[in-house]
Structure formats: C-alpha cells, structure tokens
Amino acid sequence: MSGEVESIASFRERARAFIRSNLRPATKKAVSSTLRPARADEEELAAVAHERRLQRTFFDGGLAGICVPRAYGGQELTPAHQMVLNAELRGYEYPSRVQVPTFTPILSVLLEFGTEEQKLARIPAILKGEELWMQFLSEPSCGSDVAGAVTTAVRSGNEWVLNGSKVWTTGAWWSDWALCLTRTNWDAPKHAGLTVFMFPIKTPGIEVGRIEMLNGSKEFCQEFLSDVRVPDTNRIGGVDDGWTVGTRWMFHERMARNSPLVTAPEGEIRAGGTGATMHAIARAAGRLEDPSAQALIGEAQTLHLVGGALRRRIGHGIVTRTLSDQSSAIARLFIGLAEARRTTVAFELAGEAGVAWTNGDGDLAEWGVDFLIRQATCIGGGTTEMAANVISERVLKMPREEAHDRDRPFRDVPRKSKRA
C-alpha cells in the first residue's frame, strides 16, 4: 500500500463520526440471555436482513475489514485500530450475526489458504454483507474429534462429489455459503486424508434441516449432502492436506471474539448475565436485602468483570505475541464455565418462578429453561474438555493423550463400540 497508516487518533474520530450518524443505540433489556429460544422465523429473517444492511453501511463507511488487505476491499489497518473501533462501539447496535463464524474463523481461513482468485471473489462480498457463511465441520459421528470427518468427497473430472452429513451449523437456514471439511482419502491416516471445500448452501443436493433444542430454539441446523457437485476451483488448500487448513480453522474458531477480524462492542456480554441481570431478578423477587442474594449478585458480577479482563489479557497477549496462539483456549475454558455458573446463579435467584411462571412474572420467568440448556456454553465451539486438553498439551506442553487413530489407514480406525 502507499502512504502512511492512518493514525489511531484520526481513526477514532472517523469511527465516532460514523457511529453517531449511522448506528442506533443497542436495545437495552434489563434481563437478556442468548440461551433463550429465538423469536419467530419472520423476526429472525428481518433481523438478519437488518444486519446485512448494517454490514454494508460499515463497508461504505470504510470500517469493514479493518485488518483485511485493501486488495480485497478491506482497510489494511492494524489490530490496534480494530480495538479502537470495538471500544467506540460500546452501547451501539452492530452486525452481530456476521462476525462468528463469517469473519472468524472463515474469513481468517480464506485469507490464509485461499487462492488469489478465491479471495478476490469471496472476500469483498463478505465485507459488504452479501455473503453470510457457515462452517460445515461437526458431524453426527464426531463432535470434538473433527478430524474424524466421514463426509466424503470423490473426484470426478474437474469436480468433486460430496456425500455425508454436517451438524451444529447455527443459522444455516438463512446463510449463503459454507466452508466444509471432507474426507478424500480413506487409505491415508486420519489427518492425511482430509480436504476443505467452499460452496453455496443452495447448491443442489444439500438439504438443510433444523434441529429443535430442548428449549425450543431451532437455530441449529443439520445438513444432508447427497451427490453435491463442487468445482475443484472451490477447493481450499491441497488435496488430502485439509488438516493443515483444519488446525488453523480450529485456532481461529477458538479466537472467536479475540480475533482482530471481529467487530463487536468491547465488553458486550453474549450469555450468562451480569450483576445487573441478577439485580433485576433479585429485585423482582423482593430479595435485594437478602445477604445470600447479594452474594450471588456479587458472584455473577465478579465472573462478568474477571471474564472481560481475561479476554482482553489473552487477546492482547496473542496479538503482541507475549502469549502463544493456543492461549485462546484459556479464555474459552474460563468463559464457558463462568457463563454456566451465571446461569445457575440467575436460576437460583429466580426461585420457584424459574420453573413455573405466569405472564406477570417478568424478570423472574423462564430461568429454569436457561438452566436446562446451561451446558450449551461449555459445549458449543469446542467443549471445555477440549480446551483443557489444548491448555495442558499445547500451552503447558504436557504429554499428549494416547491415540488409536494415527499411523494406520483411516478405514481401519475403530469407530464403533464392539459391545454387543
């Protein structure tokens, strides 16, 4: 690029001016929880459409893709600029559905492994909000063990034919494109027979089903791929070299909101609730003077503040290389457990109204439902157990677990219990 990098001060001024004239204040609810069942489909689609327009506004305002090269429509600035934008966004609406997984891990993976043609074709569309992406990664037979993928791609001339099933894709029913991990070689060892492809979700042969969660949410989807034809030009990385892409993909997924590609208001809470949430519940229950309720409110606020501080420390450490990339697992482990605990605290404060409520119960209602699906925060995006493995083996360098899936053809790897 030519010329000097925009100064932080001038960038801050520009971001402020943009935010003031283009964004609405975030809707503030006393009590909110992302564990709650989503709204009706029409409302969800309207929200998606609004966020696409918001993303376009960021693009037109020169604030999309802060750390993405200009050649692909980005700003080619630094993580420090992104942090300024996130700080300035506090209290404002932003295109939340565009961030994860579209900006990270997917855009991060495209930037690292995409060909020049692929990047030129896809990245500007992503930055403009025209393409929302999903990761076709987990499968019914493998959750945390993603390299055990059995969705198969077979070469057919200049195309590949895909068959199998992917699962746990949030919002695939309103998304446009997918990044997909497939098995292309059953005779190679597990990690040496994988290949990554990208394709539109509307490609013939893809059936998107919605999974009903125990709380009624239908945001998660499962896809069934039957003879889906994908051109070889949509392959990301080398044939059978998909795990090279996959390990970076997992890394970018763990980075989540610590990624310098993600635009999100600093300190925004996605789940679990803050001290203010607990205060509202305790007030509705008439328990504000109860010392044990006060201790619970304080505990939730402690976890909220400590989680934010930890996220910033880890994010900063990774950007400045004072911490290893793998350290993002530390924040993942902490935040999963802390959110689960905050859900328990909210449920405890709500008391009986958490399990049986009327329309008049307001802030007290429904917390039992959140409690039922509490473990979601320790499962989605890689379980906390996987994070504990990464911390102990990659950060602390402890010996790796013994595995029975290396150094033999993948077709010979045990995949089923031999119990009758």
Binding site: G275, A276, A309, R312, S327, N389
Partner: protein, 377 residues
C-alpha cells in the same frame, strides 16, 4: 502481572526479584519464624532504597515515578513479594505514605517511610462483629484543642515496629483519620499469633489517647472518600501479592508434575491431572488479568475502580487459596510438610484472601455497587 512492562518497570521488578532471592530465600523465612519483628531493619532499608515505599508518594513530597501510574508500578514489587513470600509491611507502609502525601501532612515522616528508617501502620480493621469491612467503631472525639481516641483495632500489621499509626475512626456519622505516634500514652500494642511465618499482627488499644487536633488528616467526619481510596490501594496490593504467590506455587507444582513418576509415567501424562492443571492455568491468568485491570483503574481513579477492586479481591481471594490447595493436593503428603516450600505461599494467599474483607464480603460489596448503578440509571 502485566504481560508487557516498560524497560524501567522491568528493571524495578527484576531488581526487587534479585534482592529478594538473595535476602529472603526460603531458609531465611524459616529462620525468621521466631523473630519478633519478622524482618530486619537493614533488609527493609535496603529494600526502601530500591523504591518499595516511594511509589505512592507525590513527587512534591519526594516520591518516585516509574511509569506515571505509581500503583501499577508498585504491584510489580507486591507481585515479587508474593512470589518470594517475602517479609516486610509493604502494603500498610505504602498506604500510610500515600495517605499522608495526599493529605499534605508530615513530610518528615513521609521522608523516613521512604528511606525505610520508619515504619507506619494503618489501623483500619476491628474485631468481630465489625471485622470484614464492618462498622468502624473506634471513637474520635474533639475535646478543646485535642482529639480523644477510644477503641480497639485488630489485626494491625507490624504495629510493634512502627513509629506512627494512621488510625481510621468515627466522629458522629462520619469517618476521621488521625496520625498517632505509637509511643503516645494510652496506646497499647499486644502481639497476636498468626498464620504467616514473617508477617506480624497486633491488637492495638486506644484508651483515652489524646493528640493535638492538628493530627487529623482533614476535617473531622469527612474522611470517607480518603478511607475508600486507601482501601482500594491496599486491596490491589494484597491481590498483586496473592497473584505472585499463586504463580510461584503453580510453577513449582508444574515442574513437579513433569518430574514425579507414578506407575511408570510422569504425573503430567494423566488426563485427570492435566485437566486440573488446565483449570489452574485459567484461574491464574484470570487472577493476573483482574488484578492488573483493578490496578490501572485505581491508579487512574476511574469510576469503575471500586467494582474492579472488589471483583479482584473476591476472585483472587477464592481462587488464590483454591489454586494453592490444589498444588498441595497434587504434591501429596510432602505438600503438607514444613520442610516443603509450598506452605510459604499457601500462608500468603490465605492471608491475602482474608485481610480487609473475605471474598464473601466483597461479593456483597459488589452487589451494593451494582444496586447503586442500577438505581441511578
């Protein structure tokens, strides 16, 4: 501790670390176990020369600045104190020096606190049921040109070694702070027994203690804001020290996990134990993170300082002791012997957890801070 230090901060940290390695090794801590003071004057004065007691003092009073945020710099020394379970009244001396400097009082005493020739103590906590940031009961009355103090303070750190006591008391409905020379008539100092090998605490009784009215730091009954400020400084330093002790215990235990073999394998190869180390790693980083944010906020007198400080005390209090107890468990029997060094750090985190409000007390304080915010907004 911050992930990145300026070269001046790193020099200050490493100088303190080297000094403590040399003058406060574990063997020395064990020798000091039966020492009345728990530290030597020479040790303290040489430490003071390194800047241990000058960072919270304003420059006009001769204070030293490293980064412009004295409290952040001082947490580096507190962290090293924790990492070495070092002796000496670092927290209380600094809090008193900061309070005197902020009040524009007793420049001579500030000077001798900075060069280490004097020690001062903050008489803040009181016995049950007023312990744990409870009601301040010590009475400060004005009689003619004199202030009359009546009440009991405990635990007071290093009171027997002090030349002066900064006493937080009550005048009517407000708080008052008074600087009292320790030898004043009516002041009695009775040593207590305690858990740390080198930290000494006393019960200090004020029985009709009379000092000139000018001994008050500011108008009577209006010291609430100053007391809150001192409390925040002290809590940040207690947390920073606890984080240092956590780090030392964790490093020691991690090494042990690689070295110790059971059933033909190192402890570090068992997933059941690996996951416990992973959780400890998260607690440790979280403790570093919240303490550093609290230190920055208090140094800048930011509006969120009180909340961050109580979150730090609640979190580091709980997980500091939890982490070191885990370290004890992972060591097995050797971890509960006097011979092993682990208990030096367990003592230190246990002390930091409890002084100036247990985690429970700070959770309730946080709830009140949240309530205040929610009522206003």
């Amino acid at each position: 501790m911050l992930l990145e230090l300026t070269s001046e901060q790193e020099l200050f940290r490493s100088t303190t670390a080297k000094f403590l390695e040399r003058h406060a090794p574990a063997a020395q801590l064990r020798r000091l176990q039966n020492d009345t003071a728990g530290f030597g004057n020479d040790y303290w004065q040489r430490g003071a020369e390194l800047g241990w007691t000058s960072l919270l003092v304003a420059e006009r009073d001769g204070g030293v600045s490293i980064s412009g945020r004295g409290l952040v710099d001082l947490t580096l020394a507190a962290y090293e104190f924790g990492r070495h379970a070092a002796p000496g009244p670092l927290v209380s001396t600094n809090v008193v020096a900061a309070a005197l400097s902020a009040a524009g009082k007793s420049r001579d005493l500030i000077g001798s606190l900075m060069d280490g020739t004097s020690i001062a103590a903050w008489c803040m906590s009181e016995g049950p049921p007023n312990d744990g940031l409870g009601k301040i009961g010590l009475d400060v009355a004005i009689v003619g040109n004199e202030l009359v103090l009546n009440g009991v303070k405990r635990p007071v750190e290093s009171a027997a070694q002090t030349s002066h006591l900064l006493v937080t008391g009550r005048t009517g409905n407000g708080l008052t702070q008074v600087l009292v020379p320790t030898p004043t008539k009516g002041v009695s100092v009775i040593p207590m027994r305690g858990i740390d090998l080198t930290r000494r605490f006393s019960v200090v009784t004020f029985d009709d203690v009379r000092v000139p009215a000018m001994s008050a730091l500011g108008p009577l009954g209006e010291a609430g804001g100053d007391v809150e400020r001192q409390l925040q400084l002290a809590l940040v330093l207690l947390c920073a020290e606890a984080v240092g002790a956590m780090q030392a215990a964790f490093d020691m235990t991690l090494e042990w996990a690689f070295d110790r073999y059971s059933f033909g394998r190192p402890l570090a190869s068992y997933q059941a134990l690996k996951h416990r180390f992973a959780h400890m790693t998260a607690w440790l980083h979280a403790s570093h993170a919240i303490t550093d944010e609290a230190a920055r906020a208090v140094a800048e007198e930011a509006p969120e300082a009180a909340e961050l400080v109580s979150a730090a005390k609640a979190y580091v209090g709980d997980y500091g002791t939890e982490l070191v107890q885990e370290c004890v468990q992972l060591h097995g029997g050797i971890g509960v012997t006097f011979e092993h060094d682990l208990h030096l750090f367990l003592r230190r985190v246990t002390l930091s957890r409890t002084l100036l409000g247990t985690p429970h007390v700070h959770r309730r304080r946080l709830a009140r801070l949240v309530a205040t915010k929610e009522t206003v907004s």
